[in-house]
Symmetry: C2
DNA sequence: CCCAGATTGTAACATATGTTACCAATTCTG
DNA sequence: CAGAATTGGTAACATATGTTACAATCTGGG
């Protein structure tokens, strides 16, 4: 009932094109991401803000004012996540919301003075972390990383496991 | 009450070393990770397994049998996550658990035939995705990426935002 | 004008993940 | 061989995240 001794022997190497998790590139990138994310979270844990909140702060800080939908556009957060983060930031008096008279659905979001101060503090730590992280790489590697990241950011969206080119809903 | 016109003007570039989220390296890596994670999830969504479950399958598949604690060691999942994933996999008859007579706390985990088959299917898609993703890079870049990843994996653990060298609890 | 979409944001629920505490089994120490 | 300390695993709760549905606008034809 079998070809040449090809039964599932207990110690044989797996013949289905082996996938070893620890060497699987996408997995390694994902895990690295989690790791970095957790390290960074320490920089704002003291300030009592979450990751989505931090992202919202960072994006708003780049403009004088911005609608929630713009935060959605500039961020991997969906609108519900932004809604929650903004609500929380507003309670903490870090963000102020001023409703737009010409379109009552929208409200302009801007950082309060405290919000700006908090952001500055955290940004300092974050940039410091970035510097330290980059310092573990050789200068050529740092350049290479930027180029590679840019390509992967594009590629990861375009490419799909099945082979089909990315279902309409393109994150 | 001030040096040369250094007040916070509304349109001035932020003088606290500006952090632009979209150019912030750790952020980019984290987001790329999420993106890849979601793409990959499509490969097993059809098979109705979650990410932790997939990881457990992948790790177990590399050995004939393995205790839950070993999965914890080889994975970024904590023991609770592994416990849940294993429970679910057992219900789906993808993993079998055989308690160890010499140490009744431990149970050997191994893939069922169906588990092995499912893993092979998904691994195929996953490896395919990896290939496609890598194909967006030039050959030198592919090599560079591996080297860089290795360094960052080490570096991200060692380095902390504050400057202090990594609190005991080292993920 | 006014109605058929689209857009912006939130409520309310379902899942998933993290945290703490704990039990049972084992090992260590004298 | 008693405790005491450690280890493997899970229960039970708290929190976070994802999903669906919807209310309140707004917009663009006829």
């Amino acid at each position: 009932m079998s070809e040449a001794g090809k039964q599932a022997s207990l110690d044989a190497e797996p013949d289905s094109a082996s996938l070893v998790l620890s060497e699987f590139l996408p997995y390694r990138i994902v895990v690295l991401g989690h790791l970095i994310s957790r390290r960074l979270a320490r920089a704002y844990a003291d300030e009592n803000i979450t990751i989505p909140e931090w992202r919202v702060l960072a994006v708003i800080s780049q403009a004088n004012a911005m609608a929630a939908r713009d935060v959605v556009a500039k961020t991997p957060l969906d609108k519900m996540a932004v809604s929650r983060a903004v609500a929380s930031l507003e309670e903490k008096r870090l963000v102020e919301r001023q409703s737009d008279p010409t379109d009552k659905r929208v409200a302009a979001l801007r950082l309060s003075a405290e919000g700006r101060a908090l952001f500055a503090r955290v940004a300092g730590l974050a940039l410091d972390y970035e510097t330290r992280l980059l310092a573990t790489l050789a200068p050529e590697e740092q350049d290479a990383l930027l180029a590679i990241l840019a390509k992967l950011e594009t590629g990861a969206v375009a490419v799909s496991p099945g082979g089909f080119p990315a279902p309409a809903n393109s994150d």
